[in-house]
Each structure stands twice: as C-alpha cells, then as structure tokens.
C-alpha cells in the first residue's frame, strides 16, 4: 500500500532522514520507536507530505506522491492519510461536532447534514455524543485525543498516522486512547504509530521499527524485536526504556 524508497530529508544542513526503504501493507500495523531526534516524526510527516522529501520516492497505491508540492494532488493525498498529533490540535473556536465536520463539509466530501450524521455516529461510538456541542476546552486530555482521532476518521482515510498520541496525556487517560486505537486496528485500518507504549507495540503491532539517526536500524515482529534485539543500539535503547 505504501512503499518508500531511498527517502531522505534535510533541514538545511541537518540530515534528518538518511535513506529509508520501507513497505507497509494494507491493514498492517507498524509501530515506530526510537530515541528523541531520531527522525520518527519526520518520517511520519513525509508520508502524508506535511514535510516534502529531499529525495527518494513515496509510492501510495501505484502513485508516486513524493513530488507533489501543492494544490489538489497534495491535498487529496493528505485526505487519504489521517494524522493524529501529540497535542491533539483540536480547533478551540469550534464545537466538538464542528471540529469533526469542518473538513468533510469544506472539501465537499459530504453535505452538512451527512457530515453531522457521521460525526454523531463517530461520537456515539467513542461515548462522547453528549459532548457534541461542547468546546474542546471543556474536555479532558483523553477525550480531546479521542475526538481528534474521530475527526481524522471522518475523512475516511485509508491510513492513519499517529505521532506519540498518548505522550501528552495524564497516565490515567492513556488507556482510553489506546483502546480506541486497538478498536481501529481490529477493524483493519492500516496504521503507522510512533509511540513509547511498548505494551501497545507488542499487542497490536505486526512489525516494530527502530529508528535512530535517520535510518531504520532494525525491524522485526514484536516478539522477536523485544525478546531478541540484534543491534547494540536497540539493545541499549530497550534497556533504557523498559
């Protein structure tokens, strides 16, 4: 579904990604871990072209999207990839339901009425239907992140990208967000998740990638990845975080 070939990304003189080759299959759950500054976010942001690759190819369903820079093609590509951020980034001036309907309605993906129905269905599903008319500031962190997830789902993306979705949450709220992500996973959504939640990686991940200094140093099925790390760098890293 997604195929990345020789992807590099520089910010000025800093080489953040130094050649990534990776294929992600339909329905696959890929978890990315690694030390801070290793390029995990940048990798994710290149996939939906929030950052433009310096070189390399990004194939998405038989289409090389890596050269898209603006306009319809770029925006259409981003619609196919939902993104969830560490800090939720809900729109504070819009109610919860308006947060969800803004994009589908503005992009004429659905009528206002259809979009509202979808929003209410999604909110019902995450148990927040009674918050539909609330503003984000009245929600807890966990509720905000769950709304942010369904806001992305309302665009009916075929891939969901998560960049440390639980890192900004109080510990007692991490569970509700991970549960929603697990639900999504079981429904067959293709997911790429940057996280420090090793439990989630073991339970949900099909593959775990270890990124450091702009390359994928090592990857494996969760079992082998955690129990039998090969490279010294990964062994080090796991020793520190577990």
């Amino acid at each position: 579904m997604i195929s990345v070939k020789g992807l590099t990304k520089d910010f000025g003189d800093i080489k953040v990604l130094r050649g990534i080759d990776e294929t992600i299959l339909q329905g696959e759950k890929v978890v990315v871990i690694g030390p801070s500054g290793g390029g995990k976010s940048t990798f994710l942001r290149c996939l939906n072209l929030m950052e433009f690759p310096t070189s390399g190819e990004i194939w998405f369903e038989n289409e090389d999207v890596s050269s898209y820079r603006k306009g319809h093609l770029l925006n259409a590509h981003r619609q196919r990839m939902g993104m969830v951020f560490q800090h939720f980034n809900l729109f504070p001036h819009l109610s919860v339901e308006e947060n969800i309907t803004l994009s589908p309605v503005t992009l004429k993906k659905a009528s206002k009425k259809q979009a509202l129905e979808t929003a209410h269905r999604l909110l019902d599903r995450i148990g927040l239907i009674d918050k539909a008319k609330n503003y984000p500031a009245t929600l807890s962190g966990g509720q905000k992140q769950r709304v942010a997830i369904v806001r992305a789902l309302a665009m009916e993306p075929s891939v969901m990208l998560f960049d440390e979705p639980t890192s900004a949450l109080d510990p007692e709220m991490v569970g509700e967000v991970l549960d929603l992500m697990k639900d999504l996973a079981h429904e067959g959504m293709t997911m790429v998740v940057v996280t420090h939640e090793m439990g989630f990686a073991r339970e949900v991940g099909h593959r775990v990638l270890f990124m450091d200094e702009g390359v994928i140093v090592e990857q494996n099925k969760p079992e082998a990845f955690f129990n039998n790390p090969q490279s010294a760098r990964l062994q080090d890293f796991l020793a520190k975080v577990v």
Partner: protein, 245 residues
C-alpha cells in the same frame, strides 16, 4: 464661581443654539471614527494576510510577492508621514475637490489605521499555534481554507480587545482632522471658543473626550473578560433561552 460656570455653559451651549453645533461635531467625530475603523479593519486584514502568507509560505508565488511589495510600501508611507500631514494631504490635495467631510475624514484615518491594524492582525495570526495549521492541512484543507476557517477566526477573536483600543485611539486622533477644516468635535469647540472668548468650550470638549474614552475603555475591559471565558462553554443552541456562561 457658580455664576462663572453658568455663564460659560450658557455661552458654550445655549446661546445661539450652539448645542446643535456640538452635536453635529460629536456626530462627525463618531462617524469618522467608526468608518475609519471599518476601513482599517478591512485594509488591515488584507495587508496582514498578505504579509503572513509571504513570510510563512515556503515558496510564495509572484502575485503574493508583488502584493507584499505594495503593502510594505503602504505601511512605510503611513508610518513615515505624520498624521497631521496625511490629513492635510487628503483634505487639500487628494480630495481637494470634495467638501464631504465624512468621506475625507474616514478615508484619511482609515488609510492610516489600516497600517496599524495590520500589525495587530499579524501578531494575532502568528500567535496561533502552528499545530492548528498542521491539523487543518493534514485533514486535506488547502492553505487558504485553513486560513479562513481555522486561523483567522481565532486570530480575529484574540485581536478584538486590541480593536477596541484602536477605536479609542482613533476617536482621539480624529481631533487632528480639524486642521483639514473638517467640522468634527475639536474643530467645533475651537470655533465656539472663538466666539465666546472664554476657555469654557475647551474644558467641555476635553470632558466629552474623557467621558467617551473612559466609557469605551470600560467596554473593552468587559469584552476582554468575556472573551477569556468564552472557550470554556457549551455552544448555545439558540440565541434565545438560557444564556451561555
């Protein structure tokens, strides 16, 4: 003492129905302020969006680059020329053929205000968290759509108190219009002073400005309080019925 005050009030307001003059001057001042602010807001929004787009887009296109150049020149002109000279230019050169005081005053001060408002807006836009743009763009919205639906509503709301203050500044600044022979409040007061030969009208005009400004400042404070609360609420279902917050 009391007698002096009574005489001054009489001379300034009652004799020869001068209160009519006062009222027309006050009306002119308020209308010029209102229309100048309106123009300032429109021009300021336009200018700030162009400047921000130019500064934040990775590769601004030719149209934006040209517009940016034009608005930069505009801002330099407004900032570089004393207001009083600007008013004289509008009144006796640019619009010399017109004697529509409201039009001249509104254009002169609106033109001036636009440059200052644009700076306020620019700060407002830049103060919105980058995550907001990212969220909008990641949902597939274009740059302009993100600007209109996500950034500007928040920026404008944050700037509302500053616009209130701009209204207050403008109200005072329009007194400069008197040099352009525009019959606003200060001009009227000065005319009446010339007839009564006492300082009464100047005290009165000072008091009128002061009261207006204090009242407006009170409104701005109230608005600030209300805005700081406004995101912590539930969307009101209808205008009528229970009040939110």
């Amino acid at each position: 003492m009391v007698e002096t005050v009574v005489r001054a009030v009489n001379n300034a307001f009652i004799a020869e129905d001068r209160w009519r003059l006062w009222l027309s001057g006050l009306e002119m001042t308020l209308l010029i302020t209102f229309f100048a602010l309106l123009m300032g807001l429109v021009v300021g929004l336009f200018v700030s969006v162009i400047r921000v787009s130019h500064d934040t887009l990775e590769k601004p296109n030719l149209t934006i680059r040209i517009l940016n150049r034009i608005v930069s020149i505009y801002v330099s002109i407004v900032r570089g020329i004393p207001v009083i000279v600007q008013v004289l230019l509008w009144s006796f050169v640019i619009l010399a053929t017109s004697r529509n005081h409201l039009l001249i005053g509104s254009l002169a001060f609106g033109f001036n205000s636009g440059a200052y408002v644009s700076e306020v807006f620019r700060g407002g836009i830049l103060s919105i968290d980058k995550g907001q743009t990212e969220a909008g763009r990641s949902l597939g919205l274009g740059y302009v759509q993100t600007m209109i639906k996500i950034i500007l509503p928040q920026a404008i709301k944050n700037c509302l108190p500053a616009f209130g203050n701009e209204f207050i500044s403008l109200l005072k600044e329009t007194s400069v219009a008197s040099v352009g022979a525009i019959t606003e409040l200060t001009h009227v007061a000065n005319i009446i002073r010339g007839r009564t030969f006492d300082p009464g009208p100047l005290f009165f005009v000072a008091t009128i400005y002061l009261i207006l400004v204090l009242f407006l400042e009170f409104l701005v404070k109230k608005m600030e309080k209300k805005l700081s609360k406004s995101d912590r609420r539930v969307k009101p279902i209808k205008r009528k019925g229970l009040r939110s917050n």
